[in-house]
């Protein structure tokens, strides 16, 4: 599945300062759909190069990191349970840097 993953608000610094990543990700075996919880694991393993604790805390994003799926706050779509489809755009923005 093709997805676009975008980092902002300083999070791009954790992935070699690259903001936009076009990725290809498989739906986990046995699952029908790819959920945000799967994507987070994939992003942590494949895109985050340093200081993963700035991105992840426990099994979800660190508090203060905003997540938008197709420009919609993931708090409206079930957060980790949000399911993803072909060509979806997922944006992670840190609110923690600078004023």
């Amino acid at each position: 599945m093709q997805l676009t993953v975008e980092f902002g608000g300083g999070l791009e610094l954790l992935c070699n300062s690259v903001k936009i990543h076009n990725i290809n990700i498989e739906t986990p075996k046995g699952a029908q759909q790819l959920a945000m919880r799967d994507l987070l694991v994939w992003v942590q393993n494949n895109l985050i190069k340093e200081r993963p604790e700035m991105f992840i805390k426990g099994d979800t994003v660190r508090p203060g990191v905003l997540v938008l799926v197709n420009d919609c706050d993931w708090e409206l779509s079930g957060q980790l349970d949000t399911t993803l489809e072909e060509k979806d755009v997922v944006v992670f923005i840190s609110t923690l840097h600078g004023g």
Binding site: P63, L76, T95, G98, G99
Partner: protein
């Protein structure tokens, strides 16, 4: 069937904006938990700030106002929204951008480029004051001498004064800063943890320093950081978001993380902490530091010399620990001499990051 259901889930459960009932909701407001669309969000976000300005009488027509601009999200959104509201509601304010150049290579020089773009984008005149010009030292030079331990103390003390000096050069009536609700909740907590009664009693005030030369106010006092960042994202505002290369991110960092954890459990907690801070009543018998002026530079100070002059004296005399922690590095005579000439209490390193209250 399952698939179409999933699609609906993803776009917000097909949920409509609870204000206009027409468009698809784009975010959940932390303050009210309402689900609202992008357009209604812009409207309520701006209107709430307008209400805060009106209710607290932050400005008077004809005033000259400096916006403390770091190039970061808060001050960028503040500059944008203020110039918008100034036009829309005819505040008749003369707005300026005021930036401080601490002299931090690879950090402030980049963020100042953002402010320079903002100057053009929003049509607001920009004034930059530098530590080098004001104090003769850049932060890079200071860090070379004192290392990475107390550098935030220097930076915090110097920035506060630099903003005031810049504001007086611009001949403005007030200085506004982008401190948001999360910042203020965090500061309430820090001041409780430090037992700093004087700061606790004033850190929730929306306007401070009315007795001083240039009052400061915080129009974002009740504005959530999440909404500021969402607003900047949806409006595609140009801001700079790199952490200061010298920031140890220590004490304040813990408070910040704690506030963010609380917010996740109960977003209202941020406003509740601010409310608690406002409702503290400090006993009238509590001894507060007396406000005077610095004998050397004339800046407001509760001591004989202001903190900036003490720190600067240390730097210039090759005793950079002066004014930080204990003065045990000095021999007895020097100590006596310093105590008499400066008459200051040592204050342990406090400030961290760009938040000055």
């Amino acid at each position: 069937m399952a698939e179409s259901h999933a699609k609906v889930q993803k776009v917000g459960g097909g949920r409509l904006c609870c204000i206009c009932n027409e468009r698809r909701a784009a975010l959940k407001r932390p303050k009210t938990l309402e689900q609202i669309c992008r357009e209604c969000f812009f409207a309520v976000f701006e209107e709430e700030i307008h209400q805060v300005i009106v209710e607290n009488q932050l400005f008077n027509p004809g005033e000259r106002i400096a916006i403390g601009a770091s190039g970061g999200k808060d001050s960028t959104v503040l500059a944008y929204v203020l110039s918008e509201l100034n036009r829309r509601h005819d505040y008749r304010l003369d707005l300026f951008l005021l930036s401080v150049d601490e002299g931090i290579t690879g950090y402030r020089d980049d963020s100042l480029e953002t402010v320079k773009r903002n100057e053009i984008q929003y049509g607001l005149p920009l004034k930059i004051v530098s530590y080098k010009d004001l104090y003769g030292w850049t932060m890079d030079e200071i860090v070379k001498i004192i290392g990475l331990k107390n550098n935030c103390t220097f930076c915090g003390v110097f920035r506060r004064q630099a903003l005031d000096r810049g504001a007086s050069l611009l001949k403005v009536d007030k200085l506004v800063t982008g401190h948001n609700a999360d910042d203020i909740a965090e500061t309430v907590l820090l001041n409780i943890l430090r037992g700093d009664i004087a700061r606790l009693s004033r850190c929730t005030a929306i306007t401070t320093g009315e007795d001083g030369p240039i009052p400061r106010c915080k129009p974002f006092k009740y504005t959530y950081e999440k909404e500021i960042v969402m607003y900047a994202y949806f409006k595609r505002l140009d801001y700079f978001s790199t952490e200061c290369i010298y920031s140890p991110n220590a004490y304040r960092g813990f408070a910040r993380e704690f506030i963010k954890d609380l917010e996740r459990i109960r977003p209202r907690a941020i406003l509740d902490i601010i409310k608690s801070g406002e409702n503290f009543r400090i006993a009238t018998s509590t001894k507060m530091p007396e406000q005077g002026t610095c004998e050397r530079c004339g800046y407001i100070s509760s001591q004989k010399w202001c903190k900036a002059c003490v720190l600067l004296e240390g730097l210039n005399r090759g005793l950079p620990k002066l004014g930080i922690g204990r003065t045990r590095v000095l021999d007895k005579d020097q100590k006596k001499d310093l105590k008499q000439s400066i008459g200051t209490k040592s204050i342990a390193s406090k400030q961290c990051g760009s938040l000055d209250f």
